[in-house]
Symmetry: C2
Subunit: 227 residues, 2 copies
DNA sequence: ACAAATTTTTAGATTTGTCTAAATTTTAAT
DNA sequence: ATTAAAATTTAGACAAATCTAAAAATTTGT
């Protein structure tokens, strides 16, 4: 049994668990629960327990029985590398192959598991080192650093404030297609004109034109306020 | 249990067996033996027998106990689709990401299993529908047709005949790097000047310059004779 | 504080793909 | 035509990843 067999081989399934744990444990450093992982991954809690033990064994997570798991530094680096690949492939599909932003996620779920450092670094260079993916999510650099933009939900913006649309919270194909149909795209300028108390819908100005949008939409669009 | 679950889902392992059976059964329509598959795939004959039954069950092969397997039409189409993906990805890596021809095979072995018709068709278009991969092997079209070039081994060419180097038989990284070092590349013009009876080595003219090459090399280079 | 509800783990089974060792069939040699 | 050798299959086992059902621990509600 060689060194790399113990420490560096990661299965596709392990990678998916690590990525999910990263996303669920995002901004809080406390433990991620078995049930939360099971629900997110559409699997059973008992399967999660088994995998938690294996991931702990391999050094990706700290596992406290009945409490949950948290990623180790090694686990965080592994997660960032997978997320980097996922988001770079999404950019590639949109920029080089004319995929629309609602089509890229499923394919990226496969491509993120391809193991070749040279491949992903070349894709990165081909794309001229993009900082954000097609949904506005930041792309970790080779050494795991990335800039989360200062952004807020459109539904949380004050009246009269202006900004630029920089991301989506809901990344479902249905929502993304809806945005396309209504000419709402990342990079668009936005100004909040009026808020309707009754249903929290908004009157906004987008790229010059006036628009009425529901709370459902506004609470899934990220805006970066103008300085 | 849905239709597509029975008939269209193919695992990575099944795909690798199908591809191997295709290559081993190439120009002869007779059965491919269990041992040949096992040796090629670096696995055990008993594993091959198990898989042969499963592939027969799924309609990819005809399996005759103790005789071997042959691909069905469905199996051939499946194999061609995998080979198409493999070779298109190899071209992509060389043409768009500046990989050298000795680096592409391992990555293509992973990429060939990505399931997205739109993805591979877009890659095909991006590359302007190449007919051959970096090693000179033909790329099947979407509907499974491809042109095998009329070619012969350099070692089989008659004296004084001229041609163009169009492929390699040995695709090992060691051989490909050797060719690079000696400035032997696909597309080069070649003329056989002299054959040495003693060791079957050749004096050739390549792109104007004279060159001495061993039988080992000559018997792994494919040449298309000039009309 | 203690019972009830919820969460999590364990025990045991299943599927996929693999292995070793033994049995069977085919092929080759005398 | 037998026998020996080689190829192939079967039987039984194992690791990975999952599941169901039951047991154990934790959390919640009064
Ligand atoms: Mn995605
Ligand atoms: Mn994304
Ligand atoms: Mn190849
Ligand atoms: Mn090739």
């Amino acid at each position: 049994m060689y060194f790399w067999e113990n420490y560096f081989f990661v299965t596709r399934s392990e990678e998916n668990y690590i990525k999910t744990i990263f996303h669920l444990g995002d901004n809080s450093s406390d433990l991620v629960s078995t049930n939360a992982i099971a629900e997110q991954m559409d699997t059973k809690p008992s399967s999660v327990t088994d995998m938690a033990k294996k991931l702990a064994e391999k050094g990706f997570v700290n596992y406290k029985k009945y409490q949950g798991v948290s990623l180790t530094d090694f686990g965080i680096n592994t997660a960032l590398s997978i997320i980097r690949k996922h988001r770079l492939w999404e950019v590639f599909l949109v920029e080089k192959l004319d995929f629309s932003w609602d089509e890229v996620h499923e394919v990226a779920e496969q491509l993120e598991h391809i193991k070749s450092e040279k491949l992903i670094d070349s894709i990165d260079a081909l794309l001229d080192f993009p900082k954000y993916d097609p949904h506005g999510d930041p792309i970790p650099s080779k050494d795991g650093k990335f800039m989360e933009r200062h952004k807020q939900l459109l539904s949380d913006m004050a009246l009269k404030t202006e900004g630029v649309c920089v991301g989506v919270k809901d990344t479902s194909a249905a929502f993304l297609k809806f945005l396309d149909k209504n000419r709402i795209a990342l990079g668009n300028t936005i100004k909040v004109l009026e808020k309707e108390d009754f249903d929290q819908s908004l009157h906004i100005q987008m790229e010059g034109k006036e628009l009425h949008i529901s709370h459902q939409i506004a609470s899934n669009l990220y805006i970066k306020k103008n300085d």
